[in-house]
C-alpha cells in the first residue's frame, strides 16, 4: 500500500470556470515536492484535459453535474483520480486513439496529452454511468535509499 503524505479531495459543478481551480490546487500540492517545473506543467495539462472531458463529454456541458477529484501524494509521487457520473465512453480504446473525437470541432488530443505527460493513465467507464480517469506521476526521486 502506498504511504499517503497528503491527500486533497475536491468536488465541483461541471462548469468550465472550475478547471482553473483544479489546476491551481494540484500546482499548490506539488509545490513542496520533488518535481521539476516542466513536471508541474505536464500535470496541469493532464488535469485540465481530464476535467474538460468530464464537463464537455461526460456531462455534455450540463452545469448540474459534479466532477470529483482526488489528489494523493505519496513518497512515490502523485496520483490523480478524476471522475464524473455522465454519459460514459462507448469504446475506451477507440477514445484514446490520437485524433479521435466524437465532437466535430475537437482535435482528439486530450488523451494524447494525458498519456504523454503522465507516467500512467487508466480509464474506467460505463455507458450511461460515468467515467473515471486515474493518472500517476512519479516523483523525481522514487528510489528509496537502502541503508
Amino acid at each position: 500500500m502506498m504511504q499517503v503524505k497528503n491527500q486533497v479531495k475536491l468536488e465541483f459543478s461541471s462548469i468550465p470556470e472550475n478547471i482553473t481551480l483544479a489546476r491551481v490546487v494540484v500546482a499548490a500540492m506539488l509545490a513542496g515536492m520533488d518535481f521539476t517545473l516542466p513536471d508541474l506543467d505536464d500535470v496541469k495539462v493532464a488535469v485540465s484535459e481530464a476535467v474538460s472531458n468530464a464537463i464537455l463529454h461526460g456531462y455534455q456541458n450540463r452545469p448540474t453535474g459534479f466532477v470529483y477529484l482526488v489528489f494523493t501524494v505519496s513518497p512515490e509521487g502523485l496520483e490523480i483520480v478524476i471522475e464524473d457520473y455522465g454519459r460514459g465512453i462507448a469504446d475506451i480504446e477507440k477514445a484514446m486513439e490520437p485524433a479521435f473525437s466524437t465532437l466535430p470541432d475537437r482535435m482528439g488530443l486530450g488523451f494524447v496529452f494525458m498519456k504523454s505527460f503522465m507516467d500512467l493513465v487508466e480509464v474506467d467507464s460505463q455507458l450511461g454511468r460515468g467515467t473515471r480517469v486515474r493518472m500517476f506521476k512519479y516523483a523525481f526521486q522514487t528510489m528509496q535509499a537502502v541503508q
Binding site: E17, T20, D41, V45, S52, D105, V112
Partner: protein
C-alpha cells in the same frame, strides 16, 4: 451585485500590414476558448483579412481547447487562401504544439514582424 469570474484569456487585437495580430493572454482552456473564438472571428470578418498571427508571449497555460481554437482559425483561413503564423512561444508551449502536430501546418517565427512578413509573401 454580481461578481463575475474573469479569466483574462483575452487579447490585444490589431491589424498590421493587412495581417490580424492577436496577442493572446492568460490561460487558454475550455473556459475561455469559445469566447476568444467569437471575438477573433468577429475581428477577422470586420477587418476582411485572411492572414493571422498568434502571439503567445503572455500565454501562461494552453491545453487542447486552446489548440483547437488555433487550429480552427487556421482551417477557416486556409480555406480562403490565407494563413496563420505563430510567435512568442516558450519551450512549454513549443512542446505542446509539437506533440499536437500543429507545428507541421503552422510555422513559428522569432517576432511579430517576421511572422507578418512571411504571411505577406516573404522578402522586402
Amino acid at each position: 451585485m454580481r461578481i463575475m469570474y474573469c479569466n483574462p484569456g483575452i487579447v490585444e487585437i490589431g491589424v498590421f500590414d493587412g495581417v490580424l495580430v492577436v496577442r493572446l493572454q492568460g490561460e487558454l482552456d475550455l473556459g475561455v476558448s469559445e469566447g476568444l473564438r467569437v471575438r477573433i472571428d468577429k475581428e477577422l470578418d470586420r477587418q476582411r483579412t485572411k492572414n493571422l498571427v498568434f502571439n503567445f508571449r503572455d500565454v501562461k497555460f494552453i491545453d487542447s481547447s486552446g489548440l483547437g481554437l488555433v487550429l480552427g482559425r487556421y482551417k477557416k483561413l486556409a480555406a480562403q487562401g490565407g494563413g496563420v503564423a505563430l510567435t512568442g512561444t516558450n519551450s512549454t508551449i513549443d512542446r505542446i504544439l509539437e506533440l499536437s502536430g500543429l507545428f507541421k501546418i503552422m510555422r513559428g517565427y522569432a517576432g511579430e514582424s517576421e511572422a507578418i512578413r512571411a504571411l505577406n509573401g516573404g522578402g522586402r
